[in-house]
């Protein structure tokens, strides 16, 4: 489970470009702010009999039937309750998810911000009639109608959970306690060789987020919509940061061990890593700095070609039901989507630690999205730098 985010991290935004193609057909004068103009698909208005089976694509740790960890099993209960046998396929990347969804053999997918937009744009994901998912009512309002899971007020899935990319620091070595991302950018030379950063092109958005606050003349509005000038500024900042970086991290264990030994003293992290490091004796704290943070949010979507739509809707409802959503969130280490899940967690403090109900906290989070040529912030007078260029730049930043 600990490595589950490793794979996805490398791929989480790795899927940008189909979307760009889809958008291109709608032309730069696309009507919505995101430039998205998806095919007009209809959501079902009522559910029929269940089909006895449902085929899912999921991130590792999202569909557990007890075979990996006997304590983690929320599939058996679903099968018993609904009579839908679950067949699940673990995908290692957003790219793989999109490819699998295109086969039409799967009914639902737990898509991240980048994949979800692609699926919507290509017409592979159908809009979801949230009235048919009773537990949707209890989903935190901050997760409804997000830029990454809806188009013009129409939901394309059911939110599953979310997490923020935090600033973690060693309380003994980093003083005074940082309150700003400047600790890893402008002030990084103070901890030369001991700064860590997330090893993925999407980390460029973290630099953009910092520039948005510190260099207003760049006029960055959305860290995922950067024109060439803004993008170059972010890349230059990261190249300067590189001189102070000790190592980039892409998996849980590596970062935990680096903070425990003192090889890293300040850098980006996830809540679950901060908890793990602290529980293993590292003197660390994690926070959302004053500039805000980037983060991720996953959504369960239904295929437009689903052969078992009724079972798929049952699954959507099941996975966000309070008990199950609490189990998944605790197993995976993220904030649950269902507000009533917080009463069901084994660790009663879980939702406080993960800020599940703290909407003010989530307002500061810019959830991962897919950088495309049509600027996601609605600008039409410039072209934005697409994700493929982000990947190239990331290689050059690391040198």
């Amino acid at each position: 489970m600990r490595l589950t985010r490793t794979l996805r991290s490398s791929a989480v935004c790795a899927a940008a470009l189909l979307l760009a193609a889809a958008c291109d057909s709608s032309g730069p004068g696309g009507t919505s702010a995101t430039g998205l103009n998806p095919p007009d698909l209809k959501a079902p208005t009522k559910l029929g009999r269940t089909e006895g089976q449902v085929n899912l694509i999921a991130w590792a740790g999202y569909v557990e039937d007890g075979s990996n960890d006997p304590a983690a099993n929320w599939v058996s209960g679903f099968e018993k309750r609904t009579g839908c046998r679950v067949r699940s396929k673990v995908a290692a990347s957003s790219d793989e998810m999109v490819k699998l969804m295109k086969t039409g053999e799967y009914d639902a997918v737990s898509a991240s911000g980048d994949a979800s937009l692609r699926l919507i744009a290509s017409g592979d994901a159908a809009p979801v009639n949230t009235d048919l998912v009773p537990h949707y009512r209890d989903v935190f309002s901050g997760l409804k109608n997000g830029a990454w899971n809806s188009v013009r007020g129409k939901m394309y899935g059911i939110p599953h959970g979310r997490g923020a990319n935090l600033l973690m620091y060693d309380t003994a070595k980093v003083r005074p306690a940082p309150t700003s991302w400047s600790a890893v950018f402008d002030d990084a030379p103070r901890y030369k060789g001991h700064v860590t950063a997330y090893d993925s092109p999407i980390y460029i958005a973290d630099a953009a987020l910092y520039l948005k606050a510190t260099r207003p003349e760049l006029k960055i509005r959305d860290p995922y919509a950067l024109d060439q000038k803004q993008f170059d500024a972010a890349v230059a900042l990261l190249k300067r940061q590189n001189a102070s970086v000790g190592e980039y991290w892409s998996d849980y264990l590596k970062e935990v061990s680096a903070f425990k030994s003192g090889d890293s003293v300040v850098g980006t992290t996830w809540q679950v890593i901060a908890n793990l490091a602290a529980s293993e004796g590292a003197k660390v704290k994690a926070l959302v700095p004053k500039e805000g943070s980037t983060g991720w949010s996953d959504t369960w979507m239904v295929s437009a070609k689903a052969k078992h739509p009724n079972c798929a809707y049952k699954w959507l409802d099941w996975i966000v039901s309070p008990e199950v959503n609490a189990q998944v969130a605790e197993y995976f280490g993220e904030a649950p989507a269902n507000s009533r899940a917080c009463a069901e967690t084994k660790d009663k403090n879980f939702c406080t630690v993960y800020h599940a109900a703290d909407e003010n906290y989530w307002k500061k989070i810019a959830f991962w999205n897919t950088p495309i040529e049509q600027c996601l912030d609605g600008r039409t007078d410039v072209r934005c730098v697409p994700y493929a260029k982000w990947v190239q730049a990331w290689t050059e930043i690391k040198g």
Partner: protein, 297 residues
């Protein structure tokens, strides 16, 4: 009684088959070679060919799907982008450094196991050298991560001399790879030194050569092909490695990391990058062949 019949019939079939094979040597040869040849041509050379060809394709800049349009853009980028050049040179440098370090460490070790140690202990020593190969690669590399960490074993051992460990980075990568591939260098050296006729060393001494001279003029020329053979392993294994450098390399990128980071969005570029180690290894093997080392592999 009835049970006798089927075995007899079975024996008959086997005998007939054996007769057929005996009479037709070409059939025999074909059956024998189909498997290995298929493996070599389809699975090995075939996949290399596909790799090379796909390096000339491009990706659609919108969909990141592979487009089968012939273009040399990827190789152009490979040669003109400074970061690629830098990473290629760094990777070759690491592979060379690992090879040299392995040879320097392996020689005295192999000399001891092959000539100095008591003969009945020699097999045991060889087994001891091989034991690291029984442990998982990842476990060993993570162990090195702990050794090289801040305040770890390396720092602790060097502290009395007022020094500190190398930390994570390029030196750590070279060190760890040297540890990983050392047995592949020790083994051929051990074999070569073991086969070195004792008479030659005695003759050299009788002719008045000191140990240094004997080493330079007698031992080294005779074991050099084995060093070259061992270096084929250490060099190629180091050149292709991308996991060790992720764990102990700090922020260092090698050629394997670039392939990995391109594979999702730009497969042809990854293929172009992937042909670099192939080309380097082929050049290396051609150079090695001149030493005659490939005969002693």
């Amino acid at each position: 009684m009835t049970t006798d019949v089927p075995p007899a019939a079975g024996r008959g079939t086997v005998r007939r088959l054996a007769g057929t094979l005996h009479r037709r040597p070409r059939l025999r040869l074909a059956l024998l070679l189909t498997g290995p040849l298929l493996w070599l041509s389809v699975l090995y050379l075939g996949s290399l060919a596909v790799l090379f060809v796909s390096a000339f394709w491009t990706t659609d800049s919108f969909t990141s799907q592979v487009v089968k349009v012939w273009s040399t853009d990827n190789f152009h980028a490979l040669f003109t982008t400074p970061v690629y050049r830098q990473v290629v040179l760094r990777s070759v440098g690491v592979a060379l450094a690992v090879t040299v370090l392995c040879a320097v460490i392996a020689f005295p070790l192999a000399f001891y196991t092959a000539r100095v140690a008591r003969p009945q202990r020699r097999p045991l020593l060889v087994v001891a050298i091989l034991t690291p190969l029984w442990a998982s690669y990842l476990v060993k590399v993570y162990a090195w991560r702990l050794i090289l960490s801040e305040g770890g074993l390396a720092d602790w051992m060097l502290a009395p001399f007022g020094l500190s460990g190398p930390g994570y980075g390029l030196p750590a990568t070279v060190l760890t790879l040297t540890y990983l591939w050392l047995p592949y260098m020790v083994l051929p050296l051990h074999t070569a030194l073991e086969q070195l006729p004792a008479g030659l060393l005695e003759a050299s001494a009788d002719l008045g050569a000191r140990p240094g001279r004997t080493f330079r003029s007698v031992v080294l020329p005779m074991v050099l092909p084995s060093v070259a053979a061992g270096s084929v392993f250490t060099f190629s294994l180091s050149l292709g490695d991308y996991i060790t450098v992720q764990i102990v390399g700090g922020k260092t990128q090698l050629i394997g990391n670039l392939v990995y980071s391109n594979i999702e969005l730009n497969l042809p570029m990854a293929a172009a990058l992937g042909t670099v180690p192939v080309a380097v290894i082929v050049l290396y093997l051609l150079a090695i062949r001149r030493t005659g080392a490939l005969n002693s592999l």
